[in-house]
Each structure stands twice: as C-alpha cells, then as structure tokens.
C-alpha cells in the first residue's frame, strides 16, 4: 500500500486564537492545503473527513459544521470522532477501496474556548463508577507515570531529560509556542502538578487546525514530484480505563505491529519518530511500545534521541513544545514528520494517543520513497 500526501495546511498554533472561529480556522488551513496541492476541492476531491468530538466543540452534532469550511458541501463528507490519525486511516480506506482518488482529512481544536476542560474530561469516564469528581484530570497520568517508571526503572530525572530535549528542539519549529531552552534543574525544581509530573512535564493546550490532502499513488504522482508516502497505517484501543494495562501503551503495540507489517519494515529501519508526548513519560512509554529502543533509559541519557543520534524522537519539539491541539494532536505530529522528511530524512513513524482517559492511539509509517 502506498498513499501519497500531496498537500498540507495549518492555521493557528497559538495558545489562544482570538480573531477566528473554529470554522474560520478550518477554512484557513484547508485553503493553504489546497493551494499547496494545487487542486480545487470542489472538483478534485472525492471524499472529506473531519475529526472532532461534540463536547470539545460545545456543539451537539458538531458534524453539521464540517462541510462548508473544507469545501465538502454537497459532497461525501463524514466525521470520524477520534484523533486525526484515525481520520487519516479512514481516508486511506476510502482511497484503497476505490471510493476516492483524493481525500481530505481535517482536524481542529479550540481549547481556548473551553471554560471547563476538567469537567469535560470527567464526562469521558464511565458514568456509573468512573466519575469521581477529580479536580485535576492529570491524576490518571500521575498514576500511570508511577507505574511505568517502576516497571521500566525510569527516574524522575529521566523525565526531565525528555522535557529539556523537546522544549529545546522545538525552537526550530515555527508552530512551537512553548519551546524554550531549559536545564534539567529547571525542570527538577519546578512545582509538581501531580507527582511525578510538574507543569513542565505536561503539554499545554493550543488552538489549531490542520488539513492533509491524501491521494492514491497514481494520482499523487500526477500532482507532485515529491509526495510523502504513507506505507503503513493502523490504530487500536486497549480497553477502557478499568481493564487497560497501566504503564503499558498496548494500543500503540497493537497498531504498530499492523503498520510495520503493512509497510514491510521493522522498527530498526525507522529513521525518525514523532510520537505523542502529552506527558513527558508518555514519550518513553511510546518509544518502548513502538519497539524503537531496547534500553530507553540508556539511549535517552546518551542523547540517542537527539538529531544525529540512533533515532531522533520528536526532533521538532513534539507536543511539549507545540502544545496539544486535542483531536488534531496526531496530525500535529504528522505535520512535524512531513517537514522533517521534506528536509531530507528518509522515513518516520508517527504515533498518537487520544489523551486521558482513553487507551487509544494510531500509527503511521511515512516515507520519502
């Protein structure tokens, strides 16, 4: 399987976009993507996919607002309520089933509009025995981080290494609102939000919209000489909170197994990784789940996850630098991967996670060849 990415567009990536509504942000991003792909959405795009969740939007049936800003009115437009990577996989299925030649996948987020984010996340828990009225939704990440650190012998200082690495690497990224040069001590000395995570270990929310234009291999070659290819793609859920394995990113294990199989590649051949680092420990947990390192702690301390090391992980700063645009998080990582590949890297793996309280994530293998 080979699906081409022929255009990308993004808008926003600021902690608060005051002058545009979410629909205007979608429009801006899609205009840019179509311009880059050099296509007219009204005639060239066969199917449209938008990724959004009602409660994030504050609108019931938010799907109603999907078609107009992305050029999908009176066309086959649908919503996948999930991370952008799940949308991409649905888009890939549209193309490989023969339903479409060119498919647009859009995801956006405007958390600055949300007054009660913690309460909304509380609604993601089981209504009968999952809603404990926690004041801070990060408590679950704290629990999981401790479990993971115990299992993999990771120390608090290792998490600080991840934070310092990603915040520094983000300085090269035009979308990174939260990049900065920090020392390990800066991270170690900042205040805990929930043990073992300080506010620097937790990615901030950011507003943004992203549009990706996918095309079948034949069509992609017509539109561009340098498409980025998706060669493997999958997503998976572990289970609900009660039955999932804490400290173990099973969702990425399951999804990556399938994605590697599709791409006919093994983890050792992967040259760069763009994986969810909503919390600092998640980056390490995900590296393990994707099979990218045999000894995460050693590789991290040796600097093997920097550009030039064994495998650069989030060389453009990841979500710790860019921020977390809710359902667009996966696409934000994909955007980073695309610009890294356009700068010359051979291939990359993208791994996303839907955030608390889910155990769902998606994987894409992208390549220049």
């Amino acid at each position: 399987m080979k699906i081409g990415i022929i255009g990308v567009g993004w808008y926003g990536f600021k902690p608060s976009i005051k002058d545009s509504s979410f629909r205007e942000m979608m429009f801006e991003a899609s205009t840019r993507a179509y311009e880059e792909a050099n296509i007219n959405p009204r005639t060239d795009v066969d199917t449209f996919i938008s990724c959004q969740e009602d409660f994030w939007e504050g609108i019931s049936i938010s799907d109603e607002f999907a078609p107009d800003p992305i050029g999908g009115a009176m066309r086959p437009t649908m919503t996948v309520t999930g991370d952008g990577i799940q949308g991409i996989v649905h888009g890939i299925m549209h193309i490989s089933s023969g339903l479409s030649n060119i498919t647009t996948v859009e995801a956006h987020a405007k958390p600055s509009d949300i007054l009660s984010l913690n309460h909304i996340i509380e609604f993601g828990h089981d209504p009968i025995y999952g809603r404990i009225g926690a004041k801070n939704c990060n408590f679950l990440a704290g629990l999981e981080a401790v479990k993971y650190m115990q299992k993999s012998k990771i120390e608090r200082e290792d998490l600080a290494y991840v934070v310092a690495k990603n915040k520094e690497l983000g300085l090269k990224n035009p979308r990174a609102s939260f990049a900065s040069k920090l020392s390990i001590d800066d991270v170690m000395n900042s205040e805990y939000v929930v043990y073992p995570l300080t506010e620097l270990d937790i990615s901030r929310y950011v507003d943004g919209a992203i549009v990706i234009v996918l095309a079948s291999e034949e069509v992609a070659r017509k539109y561009t000489d340098t498409p980025i290819w998706i060669t493997g793609a999958s997503f998976a859920s572990d289970s609900t909170l009660e039955l999932s394995e804490l400290g173990e990113a099973n969702y990425l294990k399951i999804a990556s197994k399938k994605a590697y199989q599709m791409a006919k590649i093994n983890p050792k051949q992967i040259k760069s990784a763009f994986i969810d680092d909503t919390y600092s420990y998640k980056e390490l947990e995900h590296i393990e789940a994707l099979g990218l390192s045999q000894n995460v702690k050693e590789d991290l301390r040796e600097g093997q996850f920097y550009p030039g090391g064994k495998i650069p992980v989030n060389p453009l700063g990841g979500l710790l630098s860019v921020g977390r645009p809710l359902e667009a998080s996966g696409l934000s990582l994909l955007l980073d991967a695309i610009s890294y590949l356009r700068d010359g890297e051979e291939n990359a793996i993208v791994g996303s996670w839907r955030g608390i309280p889910t155990f769902t994530g998606g994987v894409l293998v992208v390549s220049r060849k």
Partner: protein, 390 residues
Amino acid sequence: MKTNLNFRRVAVIGAGLTLFRRRMLETPQELAWEASKAALDEAGLDLKDIDCVVIGSAPDAFDGVHMKGEYLAHAGGVKKMVSRVFVGGATGVMVPISAWYHVASGLCEKVLAIAEEKMSPARPHPQSVFKYIWDPITEKPLNPNLIWIFAMEMHRYMHVNKISKEEIALVSVKNKRNALNNPYAQAAANLTVDDILNSEVLVWPVQRLDTSPVSDGAAAMVITSEDVARRHTDTPVWIEGVGWALDNTEWIQRDLYYPRYLEYAARMAYRMAGIENPFKEIDVIEPYDPFDYKELHHIEGLMIAKRGDAPKLLKEGVFDIDGDIPSSPSGGLLGVGNPIAAAGLMKTISIYWQLKGTAGKMQVKKPVHTGLAQAWGDLMQASTVVVMRN
C-alpha cells in the same frame, strides 16, 4: 466521483437487534453488547474472530458521555482497531458504509458494526439535547427545537407539491401497521388516518402521531470479505452500493421541499451498484421516517418517485407490504422506534433480513433481490444510502 473500480466484494453475514423501548434499564454498553452478541451468533462467529469494529452513535449528549466511541468500544472493540463514525442522524447507515470500506480496502476481514442510542435518560426531555445543535451565534439565541424546523420543512413540502395532511398520514398508518409484525417494535398500532389527524398538534403541521417516539436500543451487523462469507453462510447478502452527501450548514437558505443532498448520495450509490432506473430495479426500501412526511420526501430524493408523486403512489398501494416496492416493511422509525443511530442500522438490518428471506412475519410478499436503506440527519443536510443484493 470514482466508484466501483477495485473493491473487493463485501457481504453481510449476521445481524442483531435489542428491543426498541423507552427507558431501558441496560447501560449503553450493555445494549450495544446485546445486539453485537446476537449478530455474532447469527454469523456463527466469536468476538475474538472480529478484527475491526465500527461504532455509530448520534450526539454524545444523549448518553451523557464524552468520547462516546471510546466508551462503547468496550462492547466489542477491546484490543482492536475500533473507531466511531458520525454524521448526525444519518450515522445509522454510515456505520455499514464505513464497515464496507474497512473490508473493501483490504485493511480488515471481519468487521463488527455497532450502533447504539439511549435517548430516554435526557432531562427534562430528549428534545433538550437538541438545544445545542445550532449555530452558537446566529441561531442558538432563538432557541429553536427540531420539531420547529421539521414543521417548516413539512409545510414547504406540502405547499410546493400541493399535498394534504391526509395523504401524509397514510405513511404513519402503514408503518405502524407493518410494525405489528416486528418483535422488536415499540410503537406498533392499527390506526386510521383520523386517529393521526386527531392527535395533539406539536408544531403545526406536525402532530404527535406524525412523529416517531423517544427510544433506547442498539443494533449490530457482521460484515466480512467474500472468502469469509462463503465459509460461514450459503446466503450472504452483498453490499453493492454506498453513497453519502452533506449539504452546507445553512439550512435557512435551502429550499426545503426537496432533499438535493439525498439525490447526490443516491446517485453515488446507484452508480456503484449499476442501477439506472431505481423505480424498476429496486425491490424493497427502508427510507428514513422519523416523521411521516420524511418517508415520502426521501422516496422522492431517492428518485424512486418523481418530485411530488410519492403520495400518489402511496395511495395506490405501491409502498404497501404487498405492493410493488414495499417501503419500511419493518415498521420504520414510526413503528419500531427511533434510537437515532440504532434506528438507521435497524433499517439496514431489515433489508438484510428481507434479502436473506429470514424476516419472518415482516417478509414482503414478492420475491426480492435488490434492497435499499437510507438515513438522514444533521441540520436537514446529511443523507446516507446503502444498496444490497442477495
């Protein structure tokens, strides 16, 4: 649109429903699993055989759960590729469409398609969930509700085509009567046109018996590739055409008398299924009927009747259970109930059972080979169509 080029054949081999009722005691997860279990049993498969799960459910606010797809994933999607698709009220038929492309793309072999809705716990009334579906700036301040805008649509449809309330009420009579044969039905009844015309007015011209009830329920289907289907059944039913389309958000600027978006969706499905004359080539249909006028409106959008002609054909008995093109033989949403996404999948299941010949007392009189199910949703803007053959 590119269709029908390289996809693999996709079959339905099992389906299951829960009862459609108001105030079911089961949780949404339990309802979804009950339907899934029934579908797996009919297909002769276990949950461990399933490799992908597609979930459909309309607004999260009904179940009161954020990320409802994640919550419902528990009903079958543990440690699997599981996702939820959403196109408002049209979700029910989007679920088999999505399951179709999961298999047709070659990414999955055996897909479990689940739709669930639990409307009755909403307070003070399920209608209040619809308070938040509007444009937050231009429409929400007017506090419209759904029956309002559907009354406008019904009025416009009646006015342009010069149709009377009596002609429309015949749909409700037919569907509620068909539902008497359906063991899952919630609102089956033997009524006359007068009963409907004498029921209380909600928003003129919509009266209570013109509408479908508030329901809880779930539906599920097992959809597989050709190889798997051949191994498990001698009578697979093939999904041969899928289509969907969304109009723009601005329903206020649309002429409501004709669902153009449905025509587009239907054309996509017909082209894929190779149907040129839907009136002659389709044997049985399940158009979406949350309101009685909607069934006629949709039959016209599906190009099975000319614009404004559906009431005439209805009166002639074409759409009766023993007619030329039986419509809503299950009893439809008016008779069986309307747990939004589950209702759409129920309609697809009804066609599947008709084509398989296992619809029991619901089975239509004439032999059937091609069937169609359709759903409708969002702000009177979305339609999904699936065409199946045996």
